[in-house]
Symmetry: C2
DNA sequence: CTGTTAGCGCGTTCAG
DNA sequence: CTGAACGCGCTAACAG
């Protein structure tokens, strides 16, 4: 119609007619629908971002960087948490390819053949993030794991440590292998013979970091420093050392990959009134889905979740949880 | 075609024909396209989630809760950061309504009339998160701000504090007003007369928390405790107190709203090799957009960002940054 | 059991 | 300068 011309400002339209259309648009609050042209011109202006877990601050900042950059060119970003599961990842990839996303940003899950094959075969523009995949013809953007591990170990050596344990992720994940390589290179440069008993391979998780650190602490002579291959492992290791009565860094030093961009302070350290944001998201989404289905309770709801006070150091006095309705 | 019947398993199809179709599907790696039926049946199976900033751990866990719940019913979630800007928010709302999202989850930006009007007038199912809007006929899911503030202040009073400053967000945001109400109620219950000079209104930001705490610390007699209205304010206040030579909690106690679900440890405290995840996201997205446009460098890229070692307490030795290429 | 028709709503292209 | 026709790809409804 002529309406399209007016809205898109293309082609000349009689001034009077244009005014009539514009007022009608304003009156009816017409918004339009981008699906038809997406269908016709094969362009949805949507990107998919599949990460392990948005709850990890590393992926959070990644997501923010993606979103900001996408917005500059009017793209929207669909975020998916794969939890490192190939099954979940593949399910997402299929669903989003069907939704005709214009491009895919993927932090590949540990075992990741099928999803990538699909993306390649469907010719969906794809960039891999954080991890490369051997022999995969896709762009990758990642950090320098080898150099990072090397520099951390070199630092520990410079501080006088000679027995340094490495707490790695699964070796089939390239970053884990690269971090091991950096660790070994730093040792070699310092003329320290590597000790196989000090290299541990597990998962990129707190639980695994906890276990690996416990094993490392029971080796004799005990290592004086730990290299943690990611932030979760570092946190788990720290907990294990504390549980074992080791002080950090006096008894055992820790150096880790991955930073958490939170601000230079001690957290959790504040006494807070906590409302579960996760629960809030769940409750709201459940309600929204009911509404979409045309159901849900009569009239607008105002659902108020309780705040629970968690007493920590910042308020002084004894520490502990004090739940409240 | 009959193909559709086979794929969707609807209606009976001759076994032989079905086999032929199935093998062709497998052969060609046919994936299908959900746009046409979205167009026809007005159902995109997409939800929009607009939050202030995914970088804030509070919204991160919210996003995770939303995403998990949406996935259970095969919905995808488009995440948007509004940065509390009504302009940005409205732009997103328009774009996503055009994209025909099935529902909208909105943490309304401070000044938020137009977007909400649009959602209501277009009859897009919408649930408000975290903040209510006066006289708005939409569902809301939020935390109990009044009770949380009350409980925190009651705790501080029980610990012996009588001069408690309140560091609030902008009063036109309902949560700020509610937190003030809770603060006043707790004082009243303890028979403490409120002191206007101890109530500060600013923004929900670290910078504002810093400023407000600085002002609070210069009041005489100095308050012995602070109530911070969100996690950013708490962090800013903590920094200001430290800069002013006050110890927390010995000189001034702090209690805050909003928790950060990170695990019971001290962060940042680890010496790390940091790669900017944000930068990684940006670089990857820029590259992907070039690819989508059919450009970008020849052949698959392998872009490696440097790791920078940040020396903190966990490694022992002197603390400071040691950048490396 | 299988093939045909029509329609979702936009933008482009071509006639009037 | 404006209106009409067509096509994107899928599926519901109906005809064969």
């Amino acid at each position: 119609m002529t309406v399209s011309r007016v809205i898109n400002g293309k082609g000349n339209v009689n001034a009077e007619l244009r005014r009539r259309v514009e007022s009608a648009v304003a009156e009816l609050g017409y918004v339009g629908n981008s699906l038809p042209s997406s269908l016709r011109f094969r362009e949805t202006r949507m990107l998919a971002l599949a990460i392990s877990d948005i709850t990890n601050p590393f992926f959070t900042s990644m997501a923010r960087g993606v979103e900001d950059t996408a917005l500059e060119q009017n793209y929207s970003v669909i975020v998916c948490n794969t939890d490192e599961s190939e099954t979940k990842q593949e399910r997402y990839v299929r669903a989003l390819v069907r939704r005709q996303v214009d491009g895919f940003l993927l932090v590949p899950a540990s075992d990741t053949s099928e999803s990538v094959r699909l993306l390649v075969s469907q010719r969906v523009p794809t960039v891999l993030l954080d991890r490369r995949i051997d022999g995969c013809p896709l762009d990758v953007v990642r950090g320098n794991s080898e150099q990072g591990a090397h520099d951390l170990v070199a630092l520990l050596i410079a501080l006088g440590h000679r027995r340094i344990a490495a707490l790695l992720g699964p070796l089939r994940v390239p970053t884990a292998a690269e971090r091991l390589a950096g660790y070994l290179r730093a040792l070699a440069e310092a003329g320290i013979a590597p000790d196989e008993g000090l290299v541990f391979c597990g998962q990129y998780s707190q639980a695994s970091g906890y276990e690996m650190a416990r094993s490392a602490a029971s080796v004799w002579p005990r290592p004086t420093a730990l290299l943690a291959s990611n932030n979760s492992i570092a946190i788990g290791a720290y907990k294990a050392l504390r549980a074992a009565g080791c002080r950090v860094p006096e008894d055992v030093a820790i150096a880790s990959h991955d930073d958490m961009e939170i601000g230079p302070t001690i957290i959790p350290f504040f006494t807070v009134a906590a409302v579960s944001a996760n629960e809030m998201g769940r409750v709201a989404t459940r309600l929204l889905l009911e509404r979409i289905a045309g159901g849900g309770p009569e009239g607008p709801q105002d659902i108020v979740l309780p705040a629970e006070v968690i007493v920590r150091e910042s308020s002084g006095g004894p520490v502990g949880e004090a739940a409240r309705g």
